[in-house]
């Protein structure tokens, strides 16, 4: 386990200036659906089951229109982020995107975005799911800390898996944020990454090297419809520990960095079911009001960058003030992150 303490001045001397989030951009498709009418039936969810609607806590989900590609959504979010930051594209040195659900597999969405913006930037794409938010943010922070020639990093992520119900209502959208050397807002003070051996619950049997596609391959739907997932293994191996698992990065970060969990003003958590997120907060011994559970109501879960969307929204709605201490709890594909920031 490792933890990043507050950037230590003097380790790389003058290069170790603070790097804050200068702007956050969001793109959510205008098309919205009632998940209980549109998504719940396919997911086998019974809206009449007592307490279920309240537990999921989601009433509206943005779903991509036909023209909303991952790259177009990410680009829109990137423009929004740069506009909010007051930064010209030419100032961007590095662009980081994600590409499990990009326009094409193994495609350089980051390169597309850099080109579309007119940025002369080094680009790369992180191959991950919801955890790409944590990985990208961590990579951006490390690049800025280590490479004095880099002053501005743009993270632009998108997800286009909406319409599913596993195990929360899933929407589509994109989020981008700009980290800039010398920016004094939303400075990451410390972070913790937990990537450990976890139960393997699902596998897509065909398509990889072990069982390649052939001329007789047969399946319905798309790849996400064909993942062989063991519900039994989930219930037996993961469900009993999942709340603790999701709460652990925050607790470990606090312990290792000497921070009091109750000293945080807001905690942003990747959207799961409303009831589940409330359990995480309860497990942390914190009041429910510390996390904006209501943000799940009209978004569902899009990706790990739910936390950044909620952060932007909280700033816009005046839920947080300058000087507030914030935490971002991100998890996906078995990997967990916690970042502590000061607004």
């Amino acid at each position: 386990m490792t933890i990043q303490h507050e950037l230590r001045p003097g380790v790389v001397a003058a290069d170790r200036m603070m790097a804050g989030i200068a702007g956050i951009g969001v793109y959510l498709p205008q098309r919205r659906v009632d998940p209980w009418e549109t998504l719940a039936p396919a997911g086998g969810l019974d809206p009449e089951k007592p307490g279920l609607k309240q537990y999921l806590g989601c009433w509206s989900v943005p779903l991509a229109n036909e023209w909303d590609s991952p790259s177009s959504m990410a680009l829109a979010a990137a423009r929004d982020a740069l506009r909010e930051a007051g930064i010209a594209p030419v100032e961007v040195d590095v662009v980081i995107s994600n590409n499990i659900t990009s326009d094409y597999l193994d495609w350089q969405m980051s390169g597309y975005i850099a080109d579309a913006l007119g940025a002369d930037a080094t680009t790369f794409d992180i191959y991950a799911g919801c955890n790409s938010t944590g990985l990208a943010h961590q990579a951006a922070l490390d690049i800025l800390a280590a490479d004095s020639s880099v002053n501005t990093v743009l993270v632009a992520l998108a997800e286009h898996l909406g319409g599913g119900t596993f195990p929360q209502f899933i929407g589509d959208g994109a989020c981008a944020w700009v980290l800039q050397r010398g920016c004094s807002q939303l400075v990451t003070q410390a972070w913790l990454n937990i990537n450990d051996a976890t139960p393997r619950l699902g596998v897509l049997r065909d398509g990889g090297v072990a069982h390649p596609f052939t001329a007789t391959t047969s399946f319905d739907g798309e790849w996400q419809d064909n993942v062989e997932f063991s519900v039994e293994d989930y219930r037996r191996k993961l469900k009993p520990i999942f709340v603790d698992m999701c709460a652990s990065p925050f607790l470990e970060l606090c312990e290792l960095s000497g921070q009091d969990p109750t000293s945080f003003d807001q905690l942003f958590i990747v959207h799961q079911q409303r009831g589940f997120n409330a359990k995480i907060v309860q497990r942390l011994g914190l009041p429910a009001s510390i996390t904006p559970l209501d943000c799940i109501e009209d978004m569902g879960h899009i990706s790990g960058f739910d936390v950044m969307i909620d952060l932007k929204r909280s700033i816009a709605e005046g839920r947080i003030r300058r000087g507030n201490k914030l935490a971002l709890l991100v998890f996906g594909l078995g990997e967990l992150f916690c970042f502590s920031l000061v607004y």
């Binding site: 193994d106 790369f124 794409d125 391959t217």
Partner: protein, 330 residues
């Protein structure tokens, strides 16, 4: 970026023992490439390469706990949509670690070293990291061809460590040209062509060149574009061309190698082009080249002759429009 205190502990490799013949238009004879057998799955090859790197460095698998493993993501792994690094770490028996896969194109090991160096610079608790690339192209390429390259199978792992007695990493620089983002990729599996039965049954789930015009353009200008990246790396390392003793240039294209030899002031005998006329192993290729170079450095009658204090320039460039250059002192 200038780099302090990081050395190459070892470069582990795995090459299958089978061969396959690939016809490449720019080559007079078929290129013989290593071809994975039925037991040589990507994760298994990768695990072997990592173990090999650890062995060279005198390290145990436990020494990867809490450390870094970065995976250059090109070809598919054993199964799709898995985090290859985590799969390999699980197979090795490593617990907590920092690992992710990233895509930059088809030749990103040097850039991976840059990322790893950034992570290690900012994490005083970590001592080492691995850059890993594993290749298996029998089922996910067009006849094992990618542009001028004949794709081979295998895996390589470069272990970078804090301190140590191995070759010292002095500087790395990188650049990209976003307008060429659509040259190589897998058509099927994203938003544009969802992974449904039809394209998968009809052989479209392959990694190949899609934008031929852009590929030709990049091939024509890639040496010129490498100029600035190389200059930055050498500047950060504080060396000039007169101090460069060997250049490792991983390219499958004869014109590129010739263009490089014409453009830069390095004698032809000091230019090492392992990919030329041989198998192309994408990001693993340059690590193989590095491993071979370091292995041969003590053999005096083989040119280039390297000795302690020699400077090696390692350059990756390809048709994915990303360039990276690293300066090492062996």
């Amino acid at each position: 970026m200038k780099i302090d205190g990081l050395t190459l502990g070892g470069v582990g490799r795995f090459l299958p023992c089978h061969l396959a013949a690939v016809t490449v238009p720019t080559m007079p004879d078929p290129v013989m490439v290593p071809a994975a057998g039925s037991e040589d799955l990507p994760y298994a090859m990768a695990t072997t390469a990592v173990r090999d790197a650890l062995l060279q460095a005198g390290r145990d698998v436990e020494d990867l706990n809490g450390q870094y493993l970065l995976v250059c993501n090109e070809g598919p792994g054993d199964y799709l949509f898995q985090l290859a690094g985590r799969m390999v770490l699980d197979d090795l028996g490593v617990g907590r670690a920092h690992t992710y896969s990233f895509t930059q194109g088809g030749n990103s090991a040097v850039f991976a070293l840059y990322l790893l160096a950034c992570h290690l610079a900012n994490n005083p608790d970590a001592q080492r990291g691995v850059v890993l690339a594993t290749q298996h192209w029998k089922y996910h390429s067009v006849g094992r061809r990618l542009g001028d390259a004949a794709l081979g199978d295998g895996a390589a792992a470069a272990l970078l460590e804090r301190g140590g007695a191995g070759p010292r990493l002095m500087a790395i620089s990188a650049s990209s040209e976003g307008q060429f983002h659509d040259i190589v990729y897998s058509e099927v599996g994203g938003w544009a062509v969802p992974m449904t039965e039809d394209p998968c049954r009809n052989g479209r789930f392959v990694y190949r060149v899609h934008n031929e015009r852009a590929a030709r353009f990049v091939r024509a200008v890639t040496v010129e574009r490498a100029d600035a990246v190389i200059a930055r790396a050498m500047d950060d390392a504080g060396i000039g061309w007169d101090s460069v003793d060997a250049v490792v240039l991983d390219t499958a294209t004869p014109d590129i190698a010739e263009g490089f030899a014409r453009r830069f002031p390095i004698g032809r005998h000091r230019l090492i082009t392992p990919g030329l006329g041989h198998a192309w192993l994408c990001s693993a290729g340059i690590m193989f080249a590095l491993a071979r170079l370091l292995q041969e450095m003590s053999v005096p009658h083989l040119e280039p002759t390297l000795h302690g204090g020699s400077h090696v320039l390692v350059i990756s460039l390809g048709i994915d429009a990303n360039w990276a250059a690293a300066v090492m002192e062996v």
